[in-house]
Amino acid sequence: MNTVVLTKGVPDFREEQVSFDEDGHLERGKTPTVMNPNDRPALRAALQAKVRTGGTVSLMSMGPPGYEDVLREGMEDVYADDCYLLSDREMGAADTWATAMTVATGLQRLADSPDLVVAGFKTADGETGHTGPQTAYCLGWPLVTHVTSLDVDAAAGRLRAERLVDGDASEVETVEAPLPCFVVADPEFEPTYRTASHRLAHKDLRDATQQRARNLEDHLTVWDHEDLNLDPDYIGLDGSPTIVAGVDPIPKAPAERDATVVDGSRPSELEPVLSELTPYAAGD
């Protein structure tokens, strides 16, 4: 069975890392690129499929050459066999639709056609959650979103998934779908390895992967729009039906709560804190 995980680099939005200019606009050049955090559940889902049913896992991303680091990181995480980077100027500044077009073409270009494609819930920069479903649409595949657990029966050509209905954690449904299938992993996705043989296979993969990730170049294929036989008018900025009209910084909510500062250098000064907190202790 062949699984492909779609991943993307995003600005590292953690404090200390991210940098904004005076107008509150992100400074891309000064902010490091990391793997989209929501892609990790997708990686875990793919790894689980590989551990349980064997086969290969590939990573695919559309982005600038700098995404190699993201792919390397992903490779170590998912113990991927190889990576594909779709990259050239014509693909730049694509919206989610143009991205989906490009990625779907990349997926169809693979020598071994995938049985399962897994994407993350949404990107930390765009926050649309459109790319995955639109890619499935371009491929004409069944789509299962908000997946929290996954069981692939490669031999029967089916998968069974638990998914959150409307993304609501209080309602879960179990669905079945034929392969090939497109799955969007929910952030709640948790892989389970309940047999010793799965855990041992997992350990084997980990041992075998570290070397591969170090020599990423040997396992990386870069395709530009010509490799994919894509018309520049339909991809990148030119192929994007939507544009970002503007970005407004959200003002910080003013702190409304009163704060009392306690100097805790002497235990006696902590007593008022304790008496304040006691009524809230468990059970009361």
Partner: protein, 442 residues
């Protein structure tokens, strides 16, 4: 009947007993799964000790894991002393002769690096059989079918079935208790062990003990260490640290209500140790553990159905006065259990492994050491007069608890230190360093 995942053998715990069992099973081509609770094998097994290779033992750890001494141990024990503390006098004996009796070699070890070294090899070898080692798996009990033990239950995995289940899960063996094979609860059957590792620069260590980097010392302490409580202590040199610990009979401690740390302090603050510990030192690890007394609890028949117990789980921890032999017996027992299974399997009756194992423990002389019928020579070590008869005192100094202020040259300190066999000096001189015991300083 439920379909369970199956392995030929499941070994629970990857300490010396489990590692030996796994290596010997793998050597016999048995598909072996090893389940270890720690994050990394050894992560729960703090501090160190001395692992003995007895000439009379059926197996040594080096025979099962070639390269062990070279790669996984700290220093060979090349010099042995016992210090008998009696009131305000300390009598020091060179017990090299005694030590060599039945000892092929003895090396100091730190459990963390030793256990992870073993774990790596255990995984490699068992993986070749179709099994392997999994860490972070907590085995919670036995799997039974129609009342018969057929496998194990764990917190993380679905139940696993096996033809052989080796409980090498140590002194608090959940499997041995589940099987009703462990019912020690009498304090007379236990020792309270407390150990610490004290960091020391190797050059300083070599200098203070007057040894070369490829030499090591074992110092044992017996007698009055902790107000009238029966027990002893040890100090072993590692490459860049010292392992220091005390072992007291739990029953004799019962009235004292002493905290484990206090028991260790009794040794650490003893004037005898000032010469090695220096002005101040850093305690890296500290652990307290109850250990069984094999003389009382080593199980004569440590098996039931497909389950066999090895090492501490079977009470196979032998204390000869302050000398503690647990790891070596766990190794022998683990390998014998594996051998027993291979025998039973080749006769087409794998489930008789337990019975064969019991017989091997007896025939190979392991049981006789664990539960000696009579005190043998080494067993009498803790008795001062016995030592007197077999070893010559190399120093006799007055420095008991009240002799703390003794100084070299003062009337109650030893005069010229006697020559050692190799011509070097054994220093018993004390330093006056009342505040040297600064725990954790620096």
């Amino acid at each position: 009947m439920t379909e369970h995942e199956r392995y030929e053998a499941v070994v629970v715990g990857c300490g010396p007993g489990g590692a030996a069992a796994a290596a010997a099973l793998a050597r016999n081509g048995v598909e072996t799964l090893v389940l270890e609770r720690g994050v990394d094998a050894g992560s729960k097994n703090v501090s160190g000790g001395v692992i003995y290779a007895e000439e009379s033992a059926p197996y040594t750890i080096e025979s099962l894991f070639p390269g062990f001494r070279e790669q996984a141990t700290e220093r060979p024990v090349t010099d042995n002393y016992i210090h008998n503390v009696a009131g305000d006098r300390v009598k020091t004996f060179d017990i090299g002769e005694l030590h060599h009796h039945d000892t092929a070699w003895a090396d100091s070890v730190l459990r963390r690096p030793m256990d992870s070294w073993l774990a790596e090899r255990v995984h490699e070898r068992t993986r070749e059989t179709g099994g392997g080692l999994l860490t972070e798996i907590h085995v919670t009990g036995l799997l039974r079918e129609n009342g018969e033990i057929v496998g194990v239950r764990t917190e993380e995995l679905a139940p696993i079935e096996a033809d052989l289940i080796v409980a090498a899960d140590g002194v608090n063996s959940e499997l041995a208790r589940d099987a009703g094979l462990m019912d020690w609860d009498d304090p007379a059957e236990w020792f309270q062990g407390v150990k610490a590792v004290v960091d020391m620069d190797p050059a300083v260590l070599d200098d203070r003990f007057d040894i070369d980097p490829d030499e090591g010392e074992a110092h044992l302490f017996s007698g009055d260490l902790f107000d009238g409580v029966r027990g002893g202590g040890f100090l072993y040199t590692n490459r860049e640290s010292l392992s220091i610990g005390t072992v007291f009979h739990l029953d004799s401690l019962a009235d004292e209500r002493a905290e484990p740390q206090e028991l260790l302090d009794a040794l650490l603050t003893h004037p005898l140790l000032a010469q090695w510990l220096g002005e101040e030192y850093r305690e890296r690890e500290y652990s307290a553990k109850l250990v069984p007394d094999s003389k009382k609890v080593a199980h004569e028949s440590p098996h039931d159905d497909r389950l066999v117990l090895v090492g501490d789980a079977a009470g196979q921890m032998q204390a000869q006065g302050p000398i503690i032999k647990g790891m070596n017996h766990a190794v022998s027992a683990g390998a014998l259990a594996a051998e027993a299974f291979a025998d039973a399997r080749s006769r087409g009756d794998p489930h008789r492994a337990g019975e064969f194992y019991e017989r091997k423990l007896r025939e190979e002389g392991v049981m006789a050491k664990l539960r000696p019928r009579s005190y043998d020579l080494v067993g009498r070590l803790s008795e001062i007069d016995a030592v007197d008869r077999v070893a010559t005192a190399v120093a006799d100094s007055a420095l008991g608890r009240l002799g703390l202020r003794a100084r070299p040259g003062s009337s109650n300190a030893p005069t010229t230190p006697p020559a050692r066999r190799d011509g070097s000096r054994y220093r018993t001189a004390l330093r006056d360093a009342p505040d040297r015991h600064r725990r954790g300083a620096g």
